[in-house]
Each structure stands twice: as structure tokens, then as C-alpha cells.
């Protein structure tokens, strides 16, 4: 996984609540056995018209937001199915950070596995960021993971929380499986004990 570097980028405002994973990546795109190339299908049903052409009204099709790297959204972003295609599509499109008042748990976890930073902020702060994002490509948000801050184009700065271990993994681009396998003796020990205590499993 690539290291997560601090960056400044255009933020697309999506002031909807309950943006679900079916919206993020409709199920007809789940049949791929690859993780790449899903960016063109991100938000497909809102993004394209019935004839397959782009819906000019959809945020990410407008010139200002075509290269957005951040999404600012309403409550409960990423609810619905556990499909990891949702963060894969987001990542492949070029989005590195999603800011919302809350996220669905599975989606939230999936983001970290894929080098995407989900940031939870209170409603008033998300409202400020939403306003800033609405200014289009002239306004860029600064995302600083090291110092855990988001800064608007006007210089207003908000601090966010992130689990220290997850932060470390994002910053270093660490692979979870490799890290876990370093603890294989503890896993062996646990399993030996568990198969004595619960031999029927």
C-alpha cells in the first residue's frame, strides 16, 4: 500500500445522508475479480444517463470537481453492503479522503485497508467544509494526517481523531497481514489453548 501523504485537494460536496454502497458502486460492477479500474463506475447510476453518456448535473461530472480528491458528505456515509468495491472505486477515481459526520462501520474499516482516510467531524464543522467545498476548484482543503487537521481554503482549521495504530499504518503504508503474521507464535498459542477448551469447534 502507498504511504498516505498530507495533501491539498479539491473537495466535492455531497450533502446527502445515508449514501449507501449500492450508490457508490452498483452491484453490476461487483463481478470483477480485480480491485482496479472501478473508478469509471463510481456512483454510476447517478453519474451516467440511460444512454450511457455523462449526466451533466452530477457533481463529479462538472469541470470543477472532475479531479476531486476529497468528498464531503452527510451522515452515515457508506452504509449498506460490505462490498470493498466501494472504497476500491473511490480510490481508483482518485479520492483519498472522505469527510462526514458519521460512517457505517464496515465501510470505515475498509477505507483504512485501502489507504483512504475517513474523517469524522461534528455537524457544524462539516457544514463549514461543505460550504467551502461548494466554491469549486478554487477552494482546496488541506488534509494533514500527521497533525490530524483539516484546513479550509480560508485557513480555518479543524482537528480530527484517528486511531493511532491505523494512523501509523496509513502513514507508513503498512500491510496488516504482514504485521499480524509477525505475531504468529501468539496465534499458535491461542489456538492450542482454544482447541483444548472447545474441542468441538
Amino acid at each position: 500500500m502507498d504511504k498516505f501523504e498530507s495533501f491539498s485537494g479539491v473537495a466535492a460536496p455531497m450533502p446527502l445522508v445515508n449514501i449507501d454502497t449500492d450508490m457508490i458502486i452498483p452491484k453490476q460492477f461487483l463481478k470483477t475479480i480485480k480491485r482496479s479500474g472501478l473508478g469509471v463506475n463510481l456512483f454510476a447510476e447517478m453519474r451516467y444517463l440511460d444512454d450511457g453518456s455523462e449526466n451533466p448535473d452530477f457533481m463529479l461530472n462538472t469541470p470543477a470537481y472532475r479531479n476531486a480528491e476529497i468528498i464531503v458528505a452527510g451522515d452515515n456515509f457508506g452504509c449498506g453492503s460490505s462490498r470493498e468495491h466501494a472504497p476500491w472505486a473511490i480510490k481508483d477515481f482518485g479520492i483519498k479522503c472522505v469527510i462526514a459526520t458519521s460512517f457505517a462501520d464496515i465501510f470505515f474499516n475498509n477505507c483504512f485497508k485501502n489507504g483512504i482516510l475517513p474523517i469524522v467531524l461534528p455537524q457544524e464543522q462539516v457544514d463549514v467544509l461543505m460550504k467551502d467545498a461548494e466554491k469549486g476548484s478554487n477552494a482546496r482543503l488541506d488534509i494533514d494526517l500527521e497533525n490530524q487537521t483539516v484546513t479550509t481554503s480560508e485557513g480555518e482549521s479543524f482537528a480530527f481523531e484517528v486511531d493511532p495504530f491505523r494512523k501509523h499504518c496509513l502513514l507508513e503504508g503498512l500491510d496488516d497481514i504482514g504485521l499480524t503474521l509477525e505475531k504468529v507464535t501468539s496465534i499458535d498459542g491461542f489456538e492450542a489453548q482454544a482447541s483444548q477448551a472447545r474441542p468441538w469447534v
Partner: protein, 421 residues
Amino acid sequence: MAGRQVRAPEKTIAVPDHNVPTTEGRDKVIENEDSRIQVDALDKNARDFGINYYPVSDVRQGIVHIVGPEQGWTLPGMTVVCGDSHTATHGAFGALAHGIGTSEVEHVLATQTLIQSKSKNMKVEITGKLAPGVTAKDITLSVIGKTGTAGGTGYVIEYCGEAIRALSMEGRMTVCNMAIEGGARAGLIAPDQTTFDYVKGRPHAPKAAQWEAAMDWWKTLYSDDDAHWDKVITIRGEDIAPVVTWGTSPEDVLPITDVVPAPEAFKGGKVEAAKRALDYMGLTAGTPLKDIKIDTVFIGSCTNGRIEDLRAAAAILKGKKIKDGMRAMVVPGSGLVRAQAEEEGLADIFKEAGFEWRLAGCSMCLAMNPDQLSPGERCAATSNRNFEGRQGKGGRTHLMSPAMAAAAAITGHLTDVREMM
């Protein structure tokens, strides 16, 4: 797997469900190329890594959340994970069961562990008794209607109370199945005699002395009276009515006797969301829910694709015909459920009523296989998600119990099943 081995293949099961067609001949060839490649890849991987596998040619094949319990893989006290959000279903056995993403599946396969932080505890208590015509599906939808789809985020729910205790294992699975629609990654019910009776004798359940040892431990798996809860929700069983959803989120749920709500009745971001939902659903505020006409009925899914669900629907359909022009299908949750329904004569009731009798799979729950809604088509479904496009682009979904779906198939509009009982 990047050259790694599966750490515990004997504790791992695999079954194709989401993308397989549910029509005859699928064991010979799956026409859709992407699906075929995906199923072939699963086939090869399961065999290469020695994972317990139920291919489409096996009568035990079905939806993973139905097959796991049916085969006795799911036991009280276990930690169960699967790359699917409805893994919460297995919580009905007092297992900690939740959905995970693909990378996490990879992590579990390689290490048999997962990095987790502790969830908060939510207690959902359903007191008293359910009225006639009210089912486990109505319980679980009513809970979501009360908490909202994000109400359970960060929590594991324990369902308890007299009405939950009175449910069969199948009903309990229906309740836990939709914990995720309420935002909770897992929902569970303390195991009791009902649980043990269900598990006993299943192919992978413990036997003889191990059964006794397992029972001793399972009986200790309940919450203490003074357990700490971060949130408590109590609903009177008597207050739950047969419900349907009117919008595009499972929280958009109301008793069948109600009317389509006005967006202005909501607060905050939900006003916009409700406007969008009514527009998508083609509904006008104030319309009685019972006046909503439907085109299609889908009975099945991991929420309501078990034998009791089929029995409940068949009881309503017996000796009746579906409305002219109605498209209706029953998709049993597993090959074994299907076989049992045939043996009990339920299949004949469905077929005589005009239903299509399908092979096991996820089918029209999610439009990843040939069973889909067309734009504007309106469906009474026993599945768990009514998101935009869930059952096909532009398709409109109303969630409800199997009995309610059967009633709607007969009348051609959303119907209060109590009037047909």
C-alpha cells in the same frame, strides 16, 4: 493470497450465492461471462486450498447465511465472519458474527485473526407477545424504524425479551439478519433450549461427549442482570404491526395501515432524502400504503428464505391465484429448503398460485444475477434492502414479511395480511 496458505481450511466454508442464476441448467453453464469467471475462480480456489465447498451441483448449496446454520457450522459462542454484511444472521445462535470487507477476508484466511476494537453494547428488548399476523420481519423492521439506519453504528445489539424468546431459530435469524440495516455490525440472541434443539444432530454440530461439554459452556452465554448497556431500546410486542417500507432506506418503514409520509414531516438531511425517495419510488404523500399497486413479488433471500418463511407464504396462498399479470417468484434459501418445501407440498401451492419455483440463491435480492426489476417496476420483497437500484436499475422495492408479500401477490397491491387470515 500473495503466495500465502489458508491457515484453517477446515474452519472455512465457501458457497456461490450472489451471482448464480436460479434457473435450471446452471450447473452446466452460467451464461454471464463475469459471473462464470467468478464462480470458476471460487471453485478452483476452494479446491486448491482445501476449503469446505458447496458448488451449485450440490443439493446443500444456497445462500451462505442459510447454509452455515443448516449444516451446523454456526454454533453458540463462536466468532463468525464472512465477506457479506448479513453475516449478522448467525448471531441468532449467540455467536459474534459480522460482515467484513475483502481485505479483511484475506486477513482472516491468512491469519485466522482480525484486528478489532470493542463495540458498544445495545440492548433491544421486545416485551410481551406479538399479535397474530406479526412476524420476526415486522420486529426487525420496526426496530430499524425506531433507531434509524445509523442508530446501531458502533454497537453490537443483543435482542432479548419475551417476544424474542418465543421466536423459533428461523425467526431469530430474520431478526439478527437485519441488525446491519440498523447500522450495527452484529446482532445476537443468547442461546437457549430453542437454540440447542436446532443445532443438535446437524452435520457439523458436536456429537456425544463433546455435545455435553459444548452445552455446559453454551449455557453460560448470557448477559448478566447487571450488565452495562450503552443504549437500551424497548418496544412492546403488542405495539408492533405488520409493516412495509415506503422509501429507499430500510428505516422508511410504517404500519401497513398508515399513509405515505410527507417529506416535511422529517428533520434535517432527511427532508431532502425523503423527497428524493418519494420521487424515486413514484409515490405521493398521503396515499394509503394499501393503495400502492405492485407488479412483482419476490419471496426469498437470507432474511426470509427459510422453510418457515415459505410455509407462512404458502398458508396465505393456498388455493388462491396471484393477480393477473403479476410476476411472482419464490427462491428457497438453500437446496435443502427447496427439497423440504417440495416434500411438504408447498412447492405445489406456489406453482398452482402462479409463482415461479426457483433454485436456491440470492436471486432478486440484489440484481447481480439475471433476476432483476426493470425501471419503474414495483416489487413486494421479503429481502432486506430497498436502496435505489438494489433490485435492478430504477426498480422500486417495498420490504415486508413473507405472509405480507403473499397477500400482495393475490390482491395486486400492498395488503394487510390480517384481513386474509
